[in-house]
Subunit: 191 residues, 2 copies
DNA sequence: ATTTTAGGAGTGAATGTTCACTCCTAAAAT
DNA sequence: ATTTTAGGAGTGAACATTCACTCCTAAAAT
């Protein structure tokens, strides 16, 4: 097995275990087992467990940003762009339930708070499509003049919540329901 | 110290520690210390840690339902009732940050999933004001005809998210912002 | 071409720590 | 005197991390 493969195996094993059983259910020993490596090997690739998990999140975040850009047209109306990105996010999350579950675990932990804090204090030029869209909408007076974090709460919040409900089997998020949900989010933030 | 006081001390100590440091930061020994009792004493009042935490949530849930009923008028329009309840929820959460932080920890853990599952499969006659309001709105065609869980996602989701942002210091949820946020939630679900 | 050597990736048993929970003693209540 | 309650040291299990060791590969020496 090549070196980079081994690294990926470890990341993937950690993702699966955390997604399936939460942080509690993902001891290093289990991650090593599932990745097919020795426990000590993990520490050749990652300084410690925290670094492993943070790195996992970073890669996932990038991957999702890429997915949101798929089919994104810069010449559409803001509303259409919002609907596109939101729909893409929902589709990604329900197509990749393991990614979603991990993301949720992460964001609802001390890791996530640190991430959010860094994000908000950042310069704003990071690659967060959602955030840019909302800021643009406020500037052009298409979206309600509310703080960015409130707009995020009104959009990303529900999107994550319905994804969870779908993955847990509480609802069946088919195409029609996805569109209705995304539209409802837009109704909430539009002027 | 009377028996019931001791029980309350234990519950309160657990609430504080979990709110401040998460489940990880609330070992039995610390809970006992903060409550001013011996570790063994806790097991005289609660079968195990799970029962203690579940009980804590149950009491908190009841307390919040009571707070939502404060000043609730049955003769107002659905919209006004929704705004009232949502505003009351926001006010309660930002006035009781420890309660909020605990609630969040709980709902985003395996406990919370179990709770939500029980809730959705239940008969619907439990004392959940929010849920009743939304169901009523759908029946009277005032609210979008979406599954109940989606409507919950569109309302409770953002409310919890902005509360968190306020408590973490990312925004200042003053009266004006509370009203705007609640109104935005309504805009999202109204027909 | 064959053997020797070096280096570093990989390992998992051992370590020290933390945890939920138990159990026995002592104090308080009856 | 007897029963009930409280306490906290003790217990074993689970955990992240370490470290002394084992390969394996590929370069160097012959």
């Amino acid at each position: 097995m090549a070196t980079s493969e081994k690294r990926q195996e470890i990341l993937h094993a950690a993702l699966e275990l955390i997604a399936e059983h939460g942080f509690h259910g993902a001891p290093i020993a289990s991650i090593a087992d599932r990745a097919g490596v020795g426990a000590g090997t993990i520490y050749r690739y990652f300084e410690n467990k925290d670094v492993l998990i943070t790195e996992l999140f970073r890669e996932l975040h990038d991957k999702i940003q890429m997915a949101l850009l798929e089919g994104y047209k810069t010449d559409r109306s803001l509303r259409e762009q919002f609907l596109h990105v939101s729909t893409a996010l929902l589709r990604y999350l329900i197509a990749n339930p393991l990614d979603f579950r991990f993301l949720e675990q992460y964001l609802n932990s001390p890791y996530g708070v640190a991430f959010r804090r860094g994000r908000l204090l950042g310069t704003g030029d990071d690659n967060d499509l959602f955030r840019m869209l909302l800021e643009d909408g406020v500037a052009r007076q298409i979206v309600k003049d509310l703080p960015l974090v409130v707009l995020c709460a009104l959009t990303i919040g529900p999107l994550l919540a319905v994804s969870r409900d779908h993955i847990l089997g509480f609802i069946d998020l088919d195409n029609a329901l996805i569109m209705q949900t995304v539209q409802a989010c837009w109704d909430g933030i539009k002027r």
